[in-house]
Amino acid sequence: MKYMIALMLAGTATPAFAQDHGHNHSMPMQPADPQDAEEAAEEEGSGEDASPPSSAMPMDHSQMDHGAMDHQSMQPQGEGSPEMPQPMGQSPVDHSQMDHSQMGHGSMDQSGVVDDQAGGEMDHSAMGHEAMAMDIPSGPPPASAGSGPARAADAIWGVEAMRESREQLRDEQGGQTYFWFQGDRVEYRAREGSDGYLFDLQGYYGGDLDKFWFKSEGEGSFGEKIESAEVQALYSRAIAPFFDFQAGIRQDFAPLDRTYAVVGIQGLAPYLFEVDAAAFLSDKGDLTARIEAELDQRITQRLVLQPRVEASFSAQDVPELGIGAGLDTVEAGLRLRYHFAREFAPYIGIDQEWRIGQSADYARAEGEDPSVTNYVVGIRFWF
């Protein structure tokens, strides 16, 4: 940049930078403009005040007009005349709007009188941009832009020297993997008869789209053998902005050792419901399914009420597991938790389980109540 003007100025001017910039108009790089001299003279007269001289306006106008006309006459596609058909269906009217809006806008800016946030002004200039953009063709870079990867630094520092940093750059701008472990529900369950416990854990290791996902759930009553325990190992692939497809295996350790193939989806449904739905095919050929949905309803920034429902289904009776065909079990819970930190939130709540239909009959046959109410206290945590 050139500061000759500032030099010229140094002799004449008070520190008013309004004058400074006025003078810059007559810089050598400026296309000769007969108004310049006049301008400068005017500004010297009025520049005592610190505000930008409004006398700068007329010149701006002329520059703008000029520029707009240049654009029209220099259209790269050779559309010299506004009457010629134009690819975008642009009419001559638009061109005149463009000129007009640019003039108007420029003068408004400089006057400092009109609030720039006034809607009308924004609109007009936006129109101007659009119209101008139409004159510029879209397209790929010319052949002289070259092709292939960016390797300019190799010529200076050497291929070997650059390789490691290049790989690191790639990995550090989007190629990372993360490990996440969550105890969604780890709770004590007070209920009629002997109290129980439940754990519901999950986590992943992987990148943004592909992950190894694991889940584990189990519950039981204190003083008794664990009632159910399972672990799932899944490949998880993002298939939509808010949903992952998951597939893998599930191994049950209680009540019976049994292995399942798993296919499911997990994610965030509209209205912010966290949903996890999966179908399971056991090594005995039994087909079952489970769907869970929970909603975090913030009461304050740290107090969260979480309604939660879970339902399981079966395609057939599985008597050894107490599963009846059709709707098998339904569980509805309401948990109120307090986030001491995002990662650590103790909660209290109530959780109701129903066994339905044939499942209820199996339960009664075992001497169990098909409907159980749990009063829970637990923690939700992740790291």
């Binding site: 505000s51 924004m122 304050t300």
Partner: protein, 620 residues
């Protein structure tokens, strides 16, 4: 901190540069003393001359009683003010005393690409215990810039500092005092921990979310709509005052940073946003001031009462304080905290510090649906946008017929909005994207009706009752030297998925396209349109160049910048003359967005034998 008036400033730099060389100004530890372990100082020294030594080292930091580990240059955060002289060459000798690679990028300086300081793009980086010399030829510009690490996430930990290049002639900006106000953040968290929390815990740092008990001016219908979209109207900044202490020159708001002045004198403040993740609203309650330079280059003075500064931008302001003291407030855009300094007519003089204003909410325009009907209660300049939206249903480069798009998008959308319902509106209509954008789960939104938001003052500032700077106010003081109409235009789409914390250009993280740079022919002039398909503002920075904002200013006065904020759901255009050969980083300057993949390489190819054109700052 530095509080020296301009004349003394110049004087001291002459002494340091001319008589003793840079080492004379350096503390003992920087000449071989123990660098690790010493507590990092707040505020900065000045280094100048033809040979400048900088040393990067780790150490403990304490800010307002909070402590953490930091990465400091020459023992302070910010690191020293690097004071250069236009027209002079300089050697910058950077020693890395860390246990990991490091680097310094000279943000905004026009330098040979191999000295731009981006490991993996411009050079291999600086190894532990290695000294690397950046051999800069004659500096081709003057103004306010800054430097920072481009390695890992060191910038968050304190590896940054200001640059001032003094002009060869008298400065068109005349002021009696000349100060730097470098805005940044302190956090005791490790930067990698922050990244990890952002990836795992959506909204982790946001303690201003919608709740059942909030007092946001949202109707039930609007709340339902946001929930349906699975988006947060309060998603203004990813990392907030919940962990950050906002800093001015390394000092927390309660640590009393002072700029002394005499009444009736002019004070120039070079405001640099050297933060990792923060936009700031800067104001001096009760005073109007002039914005005189943007991103280092002078603009016609604009009188404002407030401006929003995006990450990595710089604005120079000139103010004539009138009272005994004035508070300079740099409030984070989400209003979760502020950096504070005082213009003081005597040491210790103080003015009241205003309370944080209410947090802003995203608007229809931020959702990319500007002008698609008035959502009562949503803050946003609907009246201002309606007309333009109707006139320009889609961007012409898509080659779509204007009348069709008008019927298809605007009216259909209006009908939908009339019932205050999002029903029938597709927030992610990927058919609106050009074919070179890769559609994947990494895109959670497509701006339905992106508008040119150059005239937008920034999130949360559209309704304040005083004049706020916007890009349309910027008019270059010096005429631009390339007045060619661009020979082509291109679009780059800013894309992301807030829930997964994925950020990218054109749907592809850098890790997926690291060998497919954005290419320009040498000396090619291109209009680049950045379309923001996210609900966050992104400060997009191109290394090694200035580009001209297409902001309605006359062609020869389009302001030149190195960083442009693209407002949510909108677009911004710039004209680029690709006259700096080599490979250059091009990225979102929100540190964790870049780290997530919103990064590309721009290659400017100079063919063998192709003559150099005269470049910015080179005299013919």
């Amino acid at each position: 901190m530095q509080a020296i008036n301009r004349r003394k400033f110049l004087g001291s730099s002459i002494v340091a540069g001319g008589l003793f060389g840079a080492t004379a100004a350096m503390p003992a530890w920087a000449r071989g003393g123990n660098m690790n372990g010493a507590t990092i100082r707040q505020g900065f020294d000045e280094v100048s001359g033809r040979n400048i030594d900088l040393t990067i080292a780790r150490g403990p930091r304490i800010v307002q009683g909070r402590s953490g580990m930091g990465v400091a240059v020459n023992g302070s955060v910010p690191g020293p003010l690097v004071r250069l002289k236009e027209g002079d060459p300089v050697n910058l000798n950077v020693t890395n005393a860390l246990d990991e690679d490091s680097s310094i990028h000279w943000h905004g300086l026009l330098v040979p690409f191999q000295f731009d300081g981006v490991p993996g793009v411009s050079f291999p980086g600086i190894r532990p215990r290695q000294t690397f010399t950046y051999e800069m030829p004659a500096i081709r510009q003057a103004g306010t810039y800054w430097w920072h690490s481009h390695s890992g996430l060191q910038e968050q930990a304190g590896h940054y500092g200001p640059i001032i290049v003094d002009p060869t002639g008298p400065d068109p900006v005349q002021a009696d005092y000349d100060y730097v106000m470098l805005l940044s953040e302190f956090t005791p968290m490790h930067p990698h921990t922050i990244m990890s929390k952002l990836k795992k815990g959506e909204g982790y740092f946001n303690y201003q979310q919608r709740t059942l008990t909030d007092d946001y001016p949202l109707t039930g219908e609007e709340r339902r709509m946001w929930a349906e979209m699975r988006m947060m109207p309060t998603d203004i900044l990813d990392v907030t005052g919940s962990t950050y202490t906002y800093l001015a020159n390394g000092h927390g708001p309660e640590e009393g940073l002072e700029y002394l002045f005499s009444r009736g004198k002019r004070v120039r403040i070079r405001v640099i946003n050297g933060s990792a993740m923060s936009f700031y609203n800067v104001r001096i309650p009760g005073l109007k001031f002039w914005v005189v330079a943007a991103d280092g280059l002078n603009v016609r003075p604009v009188e404002v009462e407030e401006f929003q500064i995006g990450t990595a931008e710089t604005y120079d302001i000139v103010v004539e304080p009138t009272g005994e003291a004035h508070t300079i407030v740099a409030e984070s855009m989400d209003r979760s905290g502020m950096a504070v300094a005082t213009l003081a007519s005597r040491p210790g003089a103080r003015a009241p510090v205003p309370a944080l204003r209410d947090p802003p909410l995203l608007t229809m325009a931020d959702m990319g649906m500007a002008g698609m009907g008035g959502m009562a209660g949503m803050e946003g300049d609907m009246s201002g946008m309606d007309h333009s939206a109707m006139g320009h249903g889609t961007s012409p480069p898509d080659g779509m017929d204007m009348s069709d798009s008008g019927d298809g998008s605007s009216e259909g959308a209006m009908a939908g909005m009339a019932g205050m319902s999002m029903g029938g509106m597709d927030m992610r209509d990927t058919s609106r994207l050009p074919p070179d954008v890769k559609v994947s789960p990494g895109i959670d939104m497509v701006a339905m009706n992106p508008q040119d938001r150059m005239g937008d003052p920034g999130i949360g500032l559209d309704k304040v009752p005083h004049k706020v700077l916007n890009y349309k106010d910027l008019v270059a003081l010096e005429p631009n030297d390339d007045l060619r109409t661009p020979s082509r235009q291109m679009e780059i789409h800013l894309t992301g998925n807030m829930e997964r914390y994925m950020w990218s250009f054109d749907g592809e993280k850098f890790s997926a396209v690291s060998d497919e740079p954005i290419r320009f022919a040498y000396n090619e002039r291109v209009r680049v349109k950045l379309v923001n398909n996210t609900m966050m503002a992104h400060p997009i920075h191109l290394h090694g160049h200035f580009f001209e904002l297409v902001n309605g200013a006359p062609a020869d006065r389009q302001p030149q910048k190195h960083t442009v904020v693209v407002q949510p759901g909108g677009f911004a255009q710039f004209d680029l003359t690709a006259d700096e050969p080599g490979d250059w980083a091009f990225h979102c300057h929100l540190l964790y967005h870049m780290h997530a993949g919103m990064f590309q390489i721009v290659t400017v190819a100079q063919e063998a034998g192709q003559p150099d054109v005269q470049r910015v700052g080179e005299s013919g």
